[in-house]
């Protein structure tokens, strides 16, 4: 005869407001096999857990049902409490009477009746619970970092400094990301290159870091502690080991007119190029789409002039398999473009701003390149159309951000600050110029941030106009900005020489594809989702995968670096153990019944099902059955549901238990 304990939690008022918890406990006490039932205000608190532990010993309980919140929240808490009271932790179950009951119902009587039903079901189930022992799996103490921007660089350096091997994979030919494109950074106005490039060099020189640039993630297999990553190293057409980075090839390349994407297409570059002079690695890459050799088979100048003989036109993409134990995703962001969007895109363009056809209307990153000492103008702020110095510049905030009608409802977070910075940089370089900013409200929550913004307004005399811009159009060599000043209720028209749009921060194109390869979740905008907004902000719901930087949502540099270090700390925590404990809730095959139809293998999302041969003593093959690799099994139960002969069962969720729950209703 079982002796079950039922503990009903008030969750402050979250549950007790709609559920009569005392009645639920009283009814639970009358259920067969229940030896003890009680209620308490905060069951997860220290006294609450003590109450549970004492009850286990006092009433000699052999099973526990905690009627409280979702098991996602506190199952671990209560299982640990049960364990410390000497009970096998898997004999403790949770009845979810918060998310599944009190939060979704209003009628107190109905909700109470439902809560009692839920408790009854879980009591029926816990009686059939078996003692389970956690599974241990080995950990590969190497980690993968995807993305070589400041987030990826910081995470890689932290993990590598802790003594673990890191594989850093970057899509572009050089690491550095967007931060390498910036001129100065807020709120200190220190030079971005000066704080960025030493870190880039550290990455390249670090003995524990393997750097794959111009590479992408091809495939991801495995699970926490034991991932197998296939990296596609795209053909550079340059042999990295031989190249000395002398730059003769780029200088002699007859193709010179290719728009420089690093400079936001403001300048040009040759077909064989390094993205920017401080690039790491300083090895050029041939842009095959624009190279004369690859287009016509004629030219070959770079090969002729290359002293070390590093040019190889026949080079092919390489697939490299890297075993790792943890993954940090740091793929960063890109800026919303106001151009016409393809039909069917949920995000819209800006017809009223000319769909990006006015040359002197640029985005924030383009302005960064104009202001950067290493940019196409050598740091002189000159407008793209005719190279003249702009005397009136209009900055427009919230372009695409916080605009549901354009398909994006979130705030891009960094634009208020970088626009304030832009007005300062502009004033520092063009003293007689005037900066105007159209803004909705200034959002500057950060250390020394509001002071910075006020400096732009009060000392640098940027004119802030509260209101939106309705239309931009070209008039002669000016761009007319039509807007409104809602604080005084008048329409404003400014004839600007240059317009800078603070466009929305979006995740990188292809973020969804990568997420699907990694098996992590993302929101409707394709930002990656953290496991818990407050308590697990750098973890993914998928174990062993961590997030850093703007791939998770708009973030400035300080936040990005903090999160990258946090992700690195999580990786180090994982690597601190030689073996990982995994929940033993895995599927098991009843080999006697299994007919090896292997439906389970077809449906398993984790690829955990294998074929197993059963042989007699002489080694003759008798038959084949399915086998579930407990290290890979995710415990989803899909195999159990699909097995026609009922030969697979998930521990903790056996058919017997499910039937018992139904019968208890």
């Amino acid at each position: 005869m079982s002796r079950i304990g039922v503990f009903v939690c008030h969750c402050g008022e979250n549950i007790s407001r709609t559920v009569d918890v005392e009645r639920v406990a009283a009814e639970a006490a009358r259920l067969p096999g229940v030896a003890y039932a009680t209620d308490y205000k905060y069951m997860c608190s220290d006294p609450g857990q003590n109450l549970l532990k004492n009850a286990v010993t006092e009433h000699r309980l052999d099973g526990i049902v905690v009627a409280a919140c979702s098991p996602r929240m506190h199952e671990k808490t209560f299982r640990n409490a049960a364990k410390s009271a000497g009970l096998n932790p898997f004999l403790c179950e949770m009845a979810n009477i918060r998310e599944h009951c009190s939060w979704v119902h209003e009628d107190r009587d109905e909700a109470t009746a439902k809560a009692s039903d839920i408790v009854a079901m879980m009591v029926a189930r816990v009686k059939k619970d078996k003692r389970l022992v956690p599974i241990t799996v080995p950990v590969t103490k190497r980690s993968l970092v995807i993305g070589g921007g400041i987030a990826g660089i910081q995470a890689a350096l932290d993990i590598a400094d802790a003594g673990h091997q890191v594989v850093l994979v970057e899509r572009e030919p050089s690491i550095g990301g967007h931060m390498a494109q910036l001129s100065e950074t807020f709120p200190t106005l220190d030079c971005s290159q000066c704080i960025m490039t030493p870190k880039m060099v550290d990455v390249a020189n670090h003995p524990n870091i393997t750097l794959h640039t111009y590479s992408e993630i091809e495939a991801v297999d495995g699970y926490i502690g034991n991932f197998q990553i296939t990296v596609r190293k795209k053909a550079r057409s340059v042999i990295e080991e031989k190249c000395t980075g002398c730059g003769v090839c780029s200088a002699k390349c007859p193709q010179k007119k290719i728009p420089n994407t690093f400079d936001k297409n403001l300048g040009t570059r040759p077909a064989i190029y390094v993205p920017f002079p401080q690039a790491v690695p300083n090895t050029p890459v041939i842009d095959r789409a624009n190279c004369t050799w690859f287009k016509t088979g004629k030219c070959g100048v770079c090969q002729k002039v290359c002293g070390p003989g590093a040019i190889n036109y026949e080079q092919e993409d390489q697939l490299i398999v890297e075993p790792v134990g943890a993954i940090v995703v740091a793929t960063g962001f890109e800026l919303y473009s106001i151009t016409e969007k393809p039909k069917g895109s949920p995000i819209k363009g800006y017809g009223e701003f000319g769909h990006g056809t006015i040359p002197d209307v640029i985005d924030g990153l383009t302005f960064e390149r104009l202001a950067s000492a290493s940019g196409p103008t050598g740091g002189k702020i000159l407008r793209p159309s005719d190279g003249k110095e702009p005397k009136q510049v209009v900055f427009v905030q919230c372009v695409g951000s916080r605009a549901r009608e354009k398909g994006i409802s979130y705030c891009s977070k960094i634009c208020c600050m970088y626009t304030a910075k832009h007005t300062m940089l502009y004033k520092h370089k063009i003293h007689d110029g005037q900066a105007y900013v159209f803004f909705m409200d200034a959002r500057t929550p950060g250390k020394s941030y509001d002071e910075f913004w006020r400096r732009a307004v009060e000392e640098e005399e940027a004119v802030y106009i509260r209101g939106m811009v309705s239309r931009l159009y070209q008039k002669g060599d000016k761009v007319v900005v039509m807007g409104s000043d809602i604080s005084v209720g008048v329409q404003v028209e400014i004839e600007a020489d240059l317009v800078v749009l603070a466009t929305a921060v979006q995740p990188r194109a292809g973020a969804d594809t990568l997420a699907q390869k990694l098996g992590i979740s993302y929101d409707s905008y394709h930002f990656y989702s953290e496991a818990h907004a407050k308590l697990k902000p750098v973890e993914c719901a998928t174990a062993g995968i961590y997030l850093a930087g703007a791939c998770q949502g708009p973030k400035d540099i300080p936040d990005t670096v903090s999160q990258a270090s946090a992700a690195a700390a999580k990786v180090m925590t994982l690597f601190a153990k030689d073996e990982l404990e995994r929940e033993p809730i895995v599927a098991k095959v009843n080999e006697k019944n299994c007919v090896a139809c292997l439906y389970c293998k077809k449906v398993c999302p984790y690829g955990a099902v294998e074929e197993k041969e059963i042989r007699d003593r002489q080694g003759n093959l008798i038959r084949v059955v399915a086998y579930v690799n407990p290290g890979v099994c995710g415990g989803c139960g899909t195999c159990q549901a699909s097995c026609p002969s009922k030969s697979v069962e998930l521990d903790g969720y056996t058919d017997e238990q499910i039937m018992a729950m139904i019968e208890a209703l």
Partner: protein
Amino acid sequence: MTPAKKLLSYSYYPGCSLHASAKEYDESTRGLFKALGIGLQEVPDWLCCGATPAHNVDELLSLSLCAKNLSLAEGVEGDLAVACAACFSRLKVTQHHLADNETKRKQVEYAIDGTVNLAKPVKHLLEILAKDFGLDRLTEAVQKPLAGLKVACYYGCLLTRPPEVPQLDCVEAPTIMERVIGAVGAETVGWSHRMECCGANFTLSRPGVVLKLSGSILDSAKAAGADCLMVACPLCHGNLDIRQKEIEEATGQRFGMPVFYMTQLLALAVGVAPGKLGFDSMIVNPLPLLREKQLL
């Protein structure tokens, strides 16, 4: 021989302006449709749609006026063709508004003492020409291509707004007027004030506002190198054509910019006699321009 063409036929709601100040819009619309072989039958006994003032004063009145017209239109076959941008807007708004507001609908039905039928498609002429009739067929029908005529297409406020109601074309950067007039050989200019307000009804109460707003429309069209403006709204026409002289006096700029209704230019291109297009009732004389371009 191309396959047999579908015979198109519409019920027609001209609205007050087309029977008064915008007679040439009405005449040229009838001429154009006749030349294209599209049937057009006027809704009998129609009444004013309430235009832009009614809904500012009494929403129920404005909805009822349009609902009455919609129910009258039931008696005539074919989708409802509308030329005036304001009438088009009010009829569409009424359909849109009553479709998901049962209470309003009941009030309106009580007011007009009849049922409201919202099923009949209300179509602006542009929609009929570009979508139902088709730009290819329009090009085929051309007898006198408007080659060399640089037209600034002016949409005004109502043709595409509010975004969820007319659904005529892209709300911020429409091209339907350009496509239609381009199909008959005219050249269109890219200009900035295609969708700015002309000042609308302020023409009576605060003409100063109209002089400024319409002035900048004319200015912008002129700067873009247009020979003339093309409109689809009698009120815009009034502000841009009738007040053009006043605007010139106020701004000291000389525009001399003929303001055509879209159907005048289209009808001219498909061979309707120029004498039937009401060019003589335009304030800014278009004849010198049309002669210069050898279109007369």
